[in-house]
Amino acid sequence: MSRHSGPPGQPDQPQPGERDAWTAVSARKNRRRRVVLADPRGRGRVLRTIIELEEQTSVGEKLIRDLIKQQLKAAFLLGGGTLLLLASLPVLFYLLPGLSAVELLGVRLPWLLLGLLPFPLLYGVGYAYRRLAESHEHDFVNSVDR
């Protein structure tokens, strides 16, 4: 990626140590828009957005508020859904005792539901959230990096 390491002093990434896999993506975008980045007005624009964020002007505040809302909404939907799904099991077992007599592959259904199912479910939800949260952050970086 050394070819795409970008023009020196890229203002949107002040800490080189923090860069990682994303650099690949943004560097590709930078290459596509190298002319725009090289344009002094363009660079000023990026700096301005970061300063707006830092000083919390109405624009900057709106941007970060939207990001927080977006992330919280994703977390609530996924976390709440999982909690609801898992928390419905005890009531279900309590109200429908017949359910625990059902056997699947020689093991009673509740043992499968509680001993096996939750772990892949939790991992799946976590994976979905990671994808979602990172794409939100990516969009945010792009909106700043105009």
Binding site: E18, W22, I64
Partner: protein
Amino acid sequence: MIGNLWSLGLVVVVAALTFLLGYVGSRRANTTPDFLVARRAIPATRNAAAISGEYLSAASFLGVAGLVLKDGIDALWYPIGFTAGYLAMMLFVAAPLRRSGAYTLPDFAEARLGSTNLRRFCTFFVICIGVLYLVPQLQSAGLTLNTITGLPAWLGAVAVTVIVAVNVLGGGMRAITLVQAFQYWGKLFAIAAPTFVLFTVFLAGPGNGAQGVDEGGVLRFHQDVEVTTAEQVRVRVAEPMELTVTGTVNGAPANGHAYWDVGTYTLGKHTELRFAKGSPVPVVEGSPTGNEQWLRPQTGGLGGLFETYSLIFATFLGTMGLPHVLVRFYTNPDGRAARRTALHVMYLLGLFYLFPTVLGVISRQYLPQLLVTGKTDAAVLLLPETMQPNLLGQVLGAVVAAGAFAAFLSTSSGLVVSVAGVVSTDILPGKVRDFRWATVLTGAVAIGLALLLPRGDASLTVAMSFALAASTFCPLLLLGIWWRGLTWVGAMAGMLVGGGLVLTALAVNVVSTLSGWVPPALSSQPALVTVPAAFLTMVMISKLTGRRRPDDVNQILLRLHAPDPLGFMRDRDVQRFGPAEDEKRAEVNRGL
């Protein structure tokens, strides 16, 4: 006995490997950032293994199987909750908390709300949770050493404390990261290998010493068994039976032949019970007596339902407030890595928890005598030799014992490091020397409490520290990260209400254990009441004291939520102690 030598040998090997890895890890650890955050350069996969290694405590390694043996399917909520806690943490806390750049929970509270009073208050609760979590680890270490070798219980607790303290003194966070990552894989092997072998033996069919269960589902002894109680215990008898008792029953001395009708009996300390072959197994009060109840979920009525939900609440929300888990997250390079670490941890934990469940189910067939005394934590340790009274069983037993020992070592190191970190940065000036003193102090306090307090089930005690974390730090973190309106007065009031309620419940529990009556469901699992109470107080008082909202709240929220490449993150320990040299950081990346 030869079996004991095997076990003792492997335990010594684990201890030696821990020392060795700690030494390797600590060779280059000399600066404060080394000791506190391992220079924030641990890759996500190794960090996840270290977090899992630290998190899989005595409660997971011994306690889960023990509870499954005793309580049946309802105990499965423990592993589910222990894992689900990381989902909640990942969704709401991991990345923003890492970006806050604060090293400890008190540090975060001060950074977010700008109050030194609140900081001291948080320090108190961190120490409470840390010690509450540490005590069952040390007590279980005593139990393990006692079970496998017959050495006195206090020796195990002291041995673990000394090994941990020496390691932590030597290299702080950098040393224990490597040790803990190694211990996760060690523990996984130590529980998986015996499970595979024993499960195969179990499937190979009857005639291998499995217990008979009669048509009514009542468990029966398959041979003459002698049981001695260690502490006072209440047992329930489901079917009239005859036995020989020496000791105290229901407060009166008993010696010789006895006839027990259906009902509950209180057995005194050191009471000897001799059961004949084929007699039904009395079980500790509160556990199902028959297999049918044991197999079915939610047979405890509304009280049982309340306890299950309370447990789900405590574990789901409590994990994010555990100081030793959070400290590990600060060793991630940035918020995104913190999120990835949490995801990886869920996978590692889910993999691990399959095994104790299986062992718990099998042990019900082979170790019914544990149900009489209620000391079911020993099930995993005793099962291999009970099922295979030969060399294979001895070796497997030794592997399990070594794994259990690794569990105490890694969890205790994590707890000692986190509590010592808080003590040294908040109460002492925070240099390396203070960190070492804090370590010695923490170890001394924990060992004292472990020897003084009565022993409960490891999982239950640990669930209590989850409830405490869920009622104090969880609302502080959630509201602090996502809500602008939080004030330090509100945070303090909420923590006072939530933490105070849990500590009251804990006191009720200890008193009831000492006096012999069964504690009410509300006090043994209080989270369902205390967590909402803490949240409500925090929000209401914050609204009332809205003027005290910090001026720079927008800047702080920006720092917590802005994506890492924008570079708003500032590590507070770097501001305080100066940066670690970059050349050393490169060294860590290559070497450790």
